[in-house]
Symmetry: C2
Subunit: 512 residues, 2 copies
């Protein structure tokens, strides 16, 4: 489908056509998938063992010793695959970097993953030690039996490995290595120049990443960034996501009397900040799901028929989701989950004013607070959205202040509010039908023999803006693990069927 809008971009189409021709060497079609599947089948135990060895090295970002051991272990793993591997030191944990130039390759792909994991509460884990991987014949919740890891020679797709970072995010790193092995074993190799960067503090906010990306700009430059992190679509099908929403967290406080006052003695006389907050919040978003802040949707074009088809193709099970979450209907009846993710949100994530329940007192409260978050799309950067929200509040007669009001401020302004924010993370989105977008889609389709689930944008936020904004090249996400992996929680796990399939996925990415 070529839309009218696309026809106005002849150069883009030409570029896409050239890229697609270059991207499809005759020898590497579905046969790559078959080759890799066979390799995985033959080397199951060794591949799992390599992952288990990596999982045994504790990797909480604050554990500098463990982090350093992980980093050095990873340098060695990449080196064994013929990559020039090294540590890139940063102000925080080191980046692990590897590069492999491929003669004749016309483009360079940078793979991003992270080797640190979420903090752990060991006692909350089945095995009491999240860095002692355990193999179960299925899900822990279903009472699956344990298998001794060290003597295992064959595993089943439904078996699961329980350990911190099993799925988030060490499995994709090992899968990428296994894919390189599988290609080498068949006398094949990557068709693109490969760069790999492994973040050592993603779960701690990747604070060193922005300066490091600037510092190592030459090593980290590429034609395309591929983030190998996160779970596939819940259907389990290979998945590619072309973008992710950003986020701007906020907190809004509306002020009433200096202290709570008796609701009998002063009710109807002392202005109630909880009611004022209710009106202010209600003024921001109507009951039909539309944000009323002026300019909130500026720059967002309606989806083209092609884009609409793309999001309609995502095999979400709306009825199951509603049942799971105990909902009669979504916020906008008839609008799908994917359609809902294409536009920014204004979400109330918390409310507080005085007390409810047994602790409630009969007062007019002194203040009312709403914790908010704006999920951003590419067209709506954080700073601009923050400015629009501030203006909305001011237009409703509020004096915006940056600390609790003093006496003079209280006397001068009937409506006082404070809006506090932390730095936001912008969204990114690579056009699915851009040359890069098509390359990844086709790469995955070719090795798997079926098209991947294509997600135009993830609803959540991925902190890769430093790459996209600083280095200026496009990015896609290729998530590979099971969606029910207990990500960030105790008993994080990896379904081995997903893991083995992800090796095929990685081979597809290496041979785009």
């Amino acid at each position: 489908v070529v839309t009218a809008a696309r026809l106005r971009q002849p150069r883009l189409i030409l570029l896409a056509a050239l890229w697609l021709v270059a991207a499809r060497p005759a020898a590497q079609t579905r046969s790559v998938g078959t080759v890799v599947e066979r390799h995985v089948e033959a080397h199951q135990a060794a591949i799992v063992r390599e992952l288990v060895d990596l999982l045994r090295i504790p990797n909480v970002a604050a554990d500098r010793d463990g982090i350093r051991r992980n980093a050095e272990h990873l340098v060695a793993m990449l080196g064994r695959r013929g990559m020039a591997a090294e540590l890139l030191e940063t102000s925080g944990n080191p980046l692990v970097y590897g590069e492999r130039r491929v003669p004749g390759a016309v483009r360079t792909v940078l793979f991003y993953a992270h080797y640190d994991g979420q903090p752990v509460v060991p006692a909350a884990w089945k095995q009491q030690d999240p860095f002692s991987p355990v193999l179960l014949e299925g899900r822990l919740e279903d009472g699956a039996r344990e298998r001794p890891l060290d003597s295992v020679t064959r595993v089943e797709p439904d078996w699961r490995l329980y350990a911190r970072s099993a799925s988030d995010d060490k499995a994709p790193i090992v899968a990428l290595c296994a894919a390189l092995d599988a290609l080498a074993g068949a006398g094949l190799g990557p068709t693109v120049n490969v760069r790999i960067v492994l973040d050592g503090e993603e779960e701690a906010g990747s604070r060193s990443l922005v300066p490091a990306v600037r510092r190592y700009r030459d090593k980290l430059s590429a034609d395309l960034l591929v983030v190998i992190d996160g779970p596939t679509h819940s259907s389990g099908r290979p998945t590619v996501a072309f973008g992710a929403r950003g986020i701007q967290p906020l907190e809004l406080t509306v002020y009433g009397p200096r202290t709570g006052v008796h609701s009998g003695n002063y009710g109807n006389w002392a202005p109630n900040p909880a009611l004022a907050l209710a009106h202010l919040l209600a003024s921001m978003k109507d009951e039909r799901g539309r944000v009323l802040v002026e300019g909130f949707y500026d720059g967002i074009a309606p989806l083209s028929p092609e884009e609409a088809r793309l999001i309609d193709e995502v095999p979400d099970d709306a009825a199951l989701m509603l049942k799971t979450f105990g909902l009669a209907q979504p916020e906008v009846p008839g609008r799908s989950l994917q359609a809902s993710l294409q536009i920014p949100t204004l979400n109330i994530r918390g409310l507080a004013s005085a007390h409810v329940g047994a602790g409630a007192r009969t007062i007019v409260p002194d203040r009312a607070v709403a914790a908010l978050d704006i999920r951003l799309v590419k067209e709506t950067p954080a700073d601009a959205m923050l400015a629009k929200l501030r203006r909305h509040i001011e237009l409703r007669g509020y004096r915006l202040i940056d600390r609790d009001p003093d006496d003079a401020t209280r006397s001068a302004h009937a409506r006082l509010a404070r809006l506090t924010s932390v730095p936001g993370t912008n969204a990114f989105r690579t056009p699915p039908d851009s040359p890069e977008g098509r390359l990844v889609t086709d790469g995955l389709a070719r090795v798997h023999g079926e098209p991947p689930v294509r997600i135009r944008t993830l609803g959540g936020t991925v902190p890769i803006a430093p790459f996209v904004e600083t280095l200026g090249f496009p990015a896609v996400l290729v998530p590979t693990v099971n969606f029910d992996n207990n990500q960030h929680e105790e008993n994080e796990n990896l379904r081995l069927g997903h893991f083995f399939k992800s090796i095929v996925t990685m081979a597809g990415l290496l041979t785009m």
Copy 2:
């Protein structure tokens, strides 16, 4: 001022005229005030000592032993004033009852006070023991010096007695006794039949009072109930309040997804209960202070010119109140505090949904809760208001449920809310220009030589509905203690100037 409305009630006017003639024996004009003032002047030390002796008996409602000792002590005190005194047993703490019939008296006044006090945290008190009264030469907060109590012979009006129940509510009981003594000392006596009932569990909710009022209906019947409790107007002038608002506490819960869901993954798709609650609350009351619940103000007539004049005469200091509370203006600019108290409120006393501040998480919350209270006026009884609020919520498309929703309920209804309530307390109001209202006003004016501050209705709630509703006779409140008495808190205190003046007030009530 006789309004058109009043002219339509000739019988009422006739009754009022008859009552007023009967109420003004020639001998008892301002001279009663002078007589009592002289008596108080001459017997200061003895009067204070009688109060101190009573304060030394611990009186927390849960302390059955202490309560019983108080009750027996009070029976003796009343007996010494020539009253037929006894305990009226209830399902809880006993009522202390006293009666004195006056030959020739045409009406009976029932005085209500309470002899129990709020619970105490002894360590929080200056003297570490709230039942060991301490005499200070002024306010504790101002560093006033202590005077030895047992050797005191003269006191100053600004001196204060610090003890639990010094002001709430033992002082009015002792003042009433002292007024009887003062009248007797001058060869005078009450001109009305006097009945006194002293509640032993007011601070614990007066739960035994409703059945007790029914059981002792004959003893507790009267032409007028006078509640002697609470602080005077902040100006310190003698005060009479003709009514008090009631209260209906409520809690409103609006439901979202079964558990909080990720605000990125599901934002714009999962309905947000905090936003729904904001809209629902905003729909209930506008930003100009008007409640929008249908029929909320039904039955409330505009104030007559006479009533408007009455509330305008209350010497509230609006500028001082705004400054004290840190407000630029009241909820309805230009509307006085007293005007605000004449109509019911719909007050949000608390809000809660997920978390704000450091604990905030990026989720769509599972529920949002508002704690509410409706302050009632005489025309708006609790049950009817509750029904109107329920109807308002239902008219906005909510299914009202009485517990957390089950799966079937969640699937069937997009809007789910729960409204929970405890039994309300109704308002009461005696027309200030009714015979009873005028009797009290004139009685106080006569003994003090100045008109009392007349409060058409207190904003807060007084639990005397059992009398008004069960026995069907009118009530007024005559508060007498200093407004800064630390009521219900540690270091409760009584300003002796207020106490001595209250003896004159009691004499006025006894000789109406």
